[in-house]
């Protein structure tokens, strides 16, 4: 029985990162024509491969580096860790290929920014107050 316990706890420790990963919401302006978006379209916009999401021109914003919601967003939607993401942007920044999204410091400023700017897109923690904006994607494990 001891072995079974050990196995159980080992698995719990191993996968705890996944279990406790942050949930997030991708948000746009309430008047936006977009109702729902898929992860791949959001990824292409955040990697600068396109400036449109489902035919609508949008400006993306990030939460700050090291923020757990940001890490969860990039892991789930973009499939890159912080280091891979930096290497990706390094290739572009120093070769005239573009620059990463601007940064909003918190859930609250992100929501305000999206509200103030018609053609904007951001992501926030699922615990943020998003009653005034439109949620177009829910990220959960």
């Amino acid at each position: 029985m001891k072995l079974a316990h050990l196995t159980f706890w080992s698995f719990l420790v191993l996968f705890s990162g996944k279990l406790w990963a942050e949930e997030f919401l991708v948000i746009v302006h309430p008047d936006s024509s977009i109702k729902e978006a898929d992860a791949d379209s959001i990824k292409r916009l955040y990697l600068g491969k396109t400036s449109q999401l489902l035919g609508v021109r949008l400006t993306p914003a990030d939460l700050p580096e090291g923020n757990s919601v940001r890490d969860a967003f990039y892991e789930k939607v973009v499939d890159k860790d912080a280091s891979q993401l930096k290497a990706y942007w390094a290739q572009l920044i120093f070769t005239g290929g573009g620059s990463p999204p601007t940064v909003q410091n918190s859930d609250q400023t992100m929501v305000q920014w999206v509200l103030a700017k018609q053609n904007s897109i951001g992501y926030v923690s699922s615990s943020a107050n998003t009653s005034n904006v439109k949620v177009i994607y829910r990220g959960s494990q």
Binding site: K49, T50, S51, Q52, R57, E65, D81, A82, S83, L85, K86, A87, A90, Q91, I93, F94, T95, G96, S99, T102
Partner: protein, 403 residues
């Protein structure tokens, strides 16, 4: 660190850039902090081989300058319009930390998918040519020398115009580039003899890339004009200035080969791929350089292939490379190498890398591989230099960071 402005043209570019920025800062009252951004990259490297003669500046004593470099980029975007000014200054340890303007351009967004660049840009010869100095962006300590080494491409940037277009077709991403311009002052180092100024070269080309993260292909074709006229004569002069009988020997062999001609042309063609399947990544590229008036540069054919796997922060990889020339009479540069290495992502913006390379040159008596040396003898004329080991091991270490 001793920073010296390399030449007047660089100095002028740097001055124009800072003047422009100052003007905008002074006259644009709505300036926000984020309109002016500065980024940089730094590589601190150490390398040593077991050979007496040096290859890419590395030999049997520990070297801290050959791989080390620092770059700073400042970008200025007035308001949220389509125009942007960018300058990237670079100082390489291999170049005595002299300050060079590697990029300095005005960037105009014509449409969402099309942009123009006017000024100094990096020549996009191969897949990784543009980000060659940004070590954090790729797995190796530097891109494979067989394709990206200095001997194959004697210059890295041009002053001219470039248009880039990107888009999506059948759910695949594509990017194309068309450019043309001039390289005004090329410092060239041939076989250990440095030639400070070889005059100007006109170069133009086209590149195309299509694919997805899973698999993408990139092809390029580039043509250079006036290469022979401008480059070869100074090389001959440099050889003669140090008392080497190369010119006489080559002339004796075929006088027609050595006469400079107008419109000497060089062609560079290449095709490469990258593939990411889960944690596995594969990369490969093949290139060919042809010079119409071939002596002293023969036609070269070269390739590399890399396979690697990401175990989280630890990324081991293996690379095979080969460089070969068609005419081995003057410079027999045939060379093969196998490199084992890893990249360790210490933090999200710092990588530590280590590599061991086994390099083998051709077994012929006049073989020089990619050593920074002349052949031991030419047509029976001994050239008094350090003996070249036919096989060598090179160990390289670096810390790469971006900020």
């Amino acid at each position: 660190m001793n920073l010296i402005i390399k030449n007047e043209w660089d100095f002028m570019l740097i001055r124009i850039f800072f003047l422009t920025v100052t003007c905008f800062v002074v006259f644009n009252t709505s300036l926000q902090a984020r309109q002016l951004t500065t980024n940089g990259f730094l590589t601190v490297g150490a390398a040593q081989s077991d050979a007496e003669a040096s290859m890419f500046g590395i030999k049997d004593e520990l070297n801290f300058s050959a791989l080390s470099l620092v770059g700073m980029q400042t970008s200025y975007q007035p308001a949220e319009n389509r125009l942007r000014f960018v300058a990237q200054l670079l100082a390489r340890g291999a170049n005595s930390w002299e300050l060079e303007a590697e990029w300095a351009y005005a960037n105009y967004k014509i449409t969402d998918n099309t942009q123009a660049f006017l000024g100094r840009i990096r020549v996009p010869f191969y897949m990784i040519s543009e980000q060659y100095d940004v070590g954090f962006a790729y797995p190796w300590i530097r891109p494979p020398d067989e394709l990206y080494g200095f001997l194959n491409i004697p210059f890295t940037s041009l002053d001219g115009l470039s248009v880039k277009h990107q888009g999506t077709i059948f759910s695949l991403d594509y990017a194309s580039q068309l450019y043309g311009g001039k390289n005004n002052a090329i410092g060239l180092d041939v076989a250990g003899i440095s030639i400070p100024d070889t005059g100007s070269i006109e170069i133009y080309g086209v590149t195309f890339k299509v694919g997805s993260e899973l698999f993408s292909i990139r092809a390029g074709h580039h043509e250079g004009k006036n290469i022979v006229l401008d480059i070869i004569q100074p090389i001959i002069d440099a050889f003669e200035s140090v008392g080497l009988p190369v010119t006489a020997a080559v002339l004796a062999q075929d006088p027609a080969n050595i006469l400079p001609v107008d419109n000497g042309k060089a062609n560079f063609s290449s095709i490469g791929f990258t593939s990411n399947v889960g944690n596995l990544f594969l990369m490969g590229e093949w290139g060919e350089r042809k010079i119409k008036q071939q002596l002293p540069f023969p036609t070269t054919e070269n390739w590399f292939f890399t396979a690697g796997y990401s175990f989280g922060k630890f990324v081991p990889h293996i690379t095979f490379g080969e460089y070969s020339v068609d005419d081995k009479t003057l410079f027999n540069q045939d060379q093969e190498s196998i490199t084992l290495g890893f990249r360790f992502n210490a933090t999200s913006s710092t990588a530590v890398k280590f590599e061991v390379a086994d390099i083998e040159i051709d077994s012929a008596a006049n073989a020089i591989g990619l050593y920074d040396s002349l052949p031991p003898n030419f047509n029976g004329v001994p050239l008094n230099i350090t003996p070249l080991d036919p096989e060598l091991t090179m160990v390289r270490f670096s810390v790469n960071t971006i900020f």
